[in-house]
Subunit: 288 residues, 4 copies
């Protein structure tokens, strides 16, 4: 539910146990909170419990720090892992691109339409080509070309920029460079990548060419969190489009662009709206 009013969103996971809904909802009821939305999921296979609870921010009677301390104390005996977000505090997203513009444009257009709730303080690229797109939307553009030798220092430069701008979420919008394990670990669960195939099919390079050669009847795209193993991170969103034998690899690419941009934007939106909990290689995605 897209709310005009500001809210507090808790994402919680813990071992499943009797009375969780009652005790968590009581915690907030005793503090006079109105629950705007409460979604949960008990994974019967692993015995884990997941909850997303959204509260009206205007009901907050204490400081944010105090609320969090009280919830920490409350959560200890239940072994809760949790995070909280206040929607009046802006989130900061950086977009990394190379030469293709369709995913970048899609993110920027949705951001302008207020579909994606964040600030975008910078766009980083290893290539100058998309500077004009950044200019159109008045977002600073940093060009950091990468060669085999300069790769480590340029990545260090990127990380410095992300830190300087207090970036919460890094989106790889068809950024064609592999990131170092260090980088990925530092932003664990905060880097979203788009792969132009229906994973786990066609991992790696040239998926459309390989899809053509294999003669598949649908092509797809996958948005996932980046992990050290390329294309192996937890999947956030996927979609496909039907194709026919007449379509050449170039036409598959064009058809695929529409799938890629929608899949990436949906994933970014779900992340920024705090609707995702990562659980091992799987993601729990709560509907809005």
């Amino acid at each position: 539910m897209k709310l005009s009013e500001d809210s507090i969103i808790f994402l919680i996971q813990c071992p499943d146990q009797r009375g969780l809904v009652a005790s968590i909802s009581n915690f907030f009821f005793q503090r006079s909170f109105n629950i705007l939305s409460c979604k949960q999921y008990s994974d019967l296979l692993t015995g884990k419990y997941f909850m997303r609870i959204e509260l009206s921010l205007k009901d907050l009677r204490s400081s944010r720090k105090q609320l969090e301390e009280e919830f920490t104390d409350f959560g200890k005996p239940l072994e809760l892992s949790w995070s909280v977000r206040y929607t009046d505090e802006s989130q900061r997203m950086a977009i990394l691109v190379s030469k293709t513009s369709h995913c970048l444009y899609d993110l920027l257009l949705r951001w302008k339409e207020d579909e994606i709730p964040c600030d975008i303080p910078l766009i980083i690229s290893n290539h100058p080509k998309l500077e004009s797109v950044a200019d159109q939307f008045k977002i600073p553009f940093h060009c950091l070309p990468v060669s085999a030798e300069t790769k480590p220092e340029q990545e260090a430069e990127i990380r410095k920029l992300l830190k300087a701008h207090h970036i919460d979420l890094v989106v790889l919008a068809r950024y064609m460079q592999v990131l170092s394990p260090d980088f990925v670990q530092e932003y664990d669960g905060r880097i979203i990548n788009i792969h132009h195939a229906f994973l786990p099919a066609f991992q790696g390079a040239n998926p459309y060419q390989r899809a053509y050669e294999r003669g598949v009847k649908m092509i797809g795209a996958t948005a996932h969190y980046a992990t050290e193993d390329l294309d192996e991170g937890p999947i956030i969103e996927q979609d496909v489009q039907r194709v026919v034998h007449e379509e050449t690899p170039d036409e598959l690419k064009q058809i695929g662009r529409d799938v890629e941009r929608i899949v990436l934007s949906r994933a970014v939106q779900a992340h920024l709206e705090r609707r995702i909990i990562i659980s091992g290689r799987r993601t729990i995605i709560f509907k809005r």
Copy 2:
């Protein structure tokens, strides 16, 4: 979640108000219930609140009657409307058909595969054609041919049969007869019909022919609760299939059959799994 263990399912609706989750979950926690699943929805436009809560039946410490009386008392100040179902009590479904078999077969096959949790004590038709299908699945078949004159008495006969067999749900699986307002009212919210078009497009007769003439690029089907106004009842499920100019009305019919049977079966399944709350002309469908 399809559970092997038996459960108690409450469907609840009421005016939205502070503390609902806490107080309802507390009610069950105090009675030592484990909550298997709890889904809710606050309709911010109408101020209504909806909940589906599923409890482990083996946790029940009192009689069913006592639980219901206590919940009645508990619910009064909150203005709860609710119903309850115990999954160890079987539900009884009647299927009404005419001459086309695809929806009937689909229901019976899923029923045999235990995808549809119910008993099917009888199939009723206004035509003898599908008797052999009923025989295949060893279900009693009642043929009640309808003419303009015999319609009222045959409908009375149908209602007598439904009553005699304690039918909970009536499924119109391409039963081509309009039911009387009395009949529909008696089984309010318990008759599911399949319309072979994407409602509200092509209400009424011959939808595939009209879809062909209008040149639509997708055809669909709609499962809905029957109400007095034909094809105007609350929609449960819809789906579509892409078509092209080459397809004749007869081919649209064939393609449509696949959509119809899946849409109807999904709707029946959602109803029997107690995942639907009707709210005016809309339905709240909780995911399994």
Copy 3:
């Protein structure tokens, strides 16, 4: 098939008759043409025959005028209706908009990516809001505000602009004004409109609100040729997206935007690639 080489495209319709493929393909074979693609469709219900034939332009041994005269003579006994296009002659498209930008952006981005083969000499709006979008893509923007009194003269102004710029195709990209019958007739088969619903469902105003109230489980969009009767013209393309009870009318609008822009762009592309033949209220759409 997206070809790098230039081609000649004939769109043909006529009464179905023995030997059509042989005689038409012979006509071109005798003139040493290589047939790049030849698609046909015999409508057995109406006895009509439709063909799209694409030839290599570099095989043309005569003047274009002479080819067309010879084909006219050839076609008379077969009662052919036909049109021809040479892909080295640019097509000129005007876009009419009001205040919403998503369809406009989608067209402009695809145009920049060379997915839409045309020139766009102007964008016309009844509102100044989208001027900055036109500026981003360096396309002249004409703002012609419309009131009840000024409507006829402003429409005359639009038609003057279209004529001055030799416009071949007018795209109504969420242009919220009804056009006069005269205008529509002048550009018969050359005005494409996007309606934000799955026609024939929810014709007219506020389709998303009405879709919400009716409780449909999918929302759609329809691109069609404009005719005098609003929303009754031949359908070119449709698509839908699944929705759930939780989505508010505003969220349906947001979801619908993605469907609208893809549906409109596909329709414009099919038109400009000369893959559409209009036949009464239906369209024959040849695959690329």
Copy 4:
């Protein structure tokens, strides 16, 4: 186009060359044939040309043998590979199954509804479980249980049965045994298998379990021609269904059943309607 009248269907492939449409259509025009449908595809990447041409059988003025001899002579200089089918000659299909019934039922129901144009003289299984299904449709059922030792002799038995019944097409409707290379070669291009995943993802065993563990957001099924390498044969049809984190592996299986049966039936239908040409690892599928 599903025709009530009988027809002759040629499937043709050859090197692409100038004048193919003209010369092939002339061949049939000179013999007074009415062309009911003519579909073609030029693969610009490989320089290959494919055609499906359907003629009215009642126009045949010579013997079938003579037509075929004349076409052989005609085709030699053009290097045509081709096959022909007369729709008044029945095709004979065998279905191989193990224990799951959903694909078998779907094929049999469509066969009864005349959607699948063939005779089904036998069903073979390595397990007695589905005998009652075969009985329902009055089709002889052969149970040939397979163990590690008996596998070769039982496969020999199967091949004897297929030969004795002059089988044209073998459908593996969830037959859980790998066939020997000899068997596959003998029925090259005439064995259709259904794999319960979106190939090339999740080749091999337990695809639903692995899809669950990988956390994919859609599950699929693939119908393909059997080749020596398991799950590597030319793909005929694929489809997917969206799933969410709440669905257990068992529920994925249930959802997948609907995808499998539709995908397999579409593939069988396309094969029997002679709408498929195999080209290496790819298939050309002409629309009806």
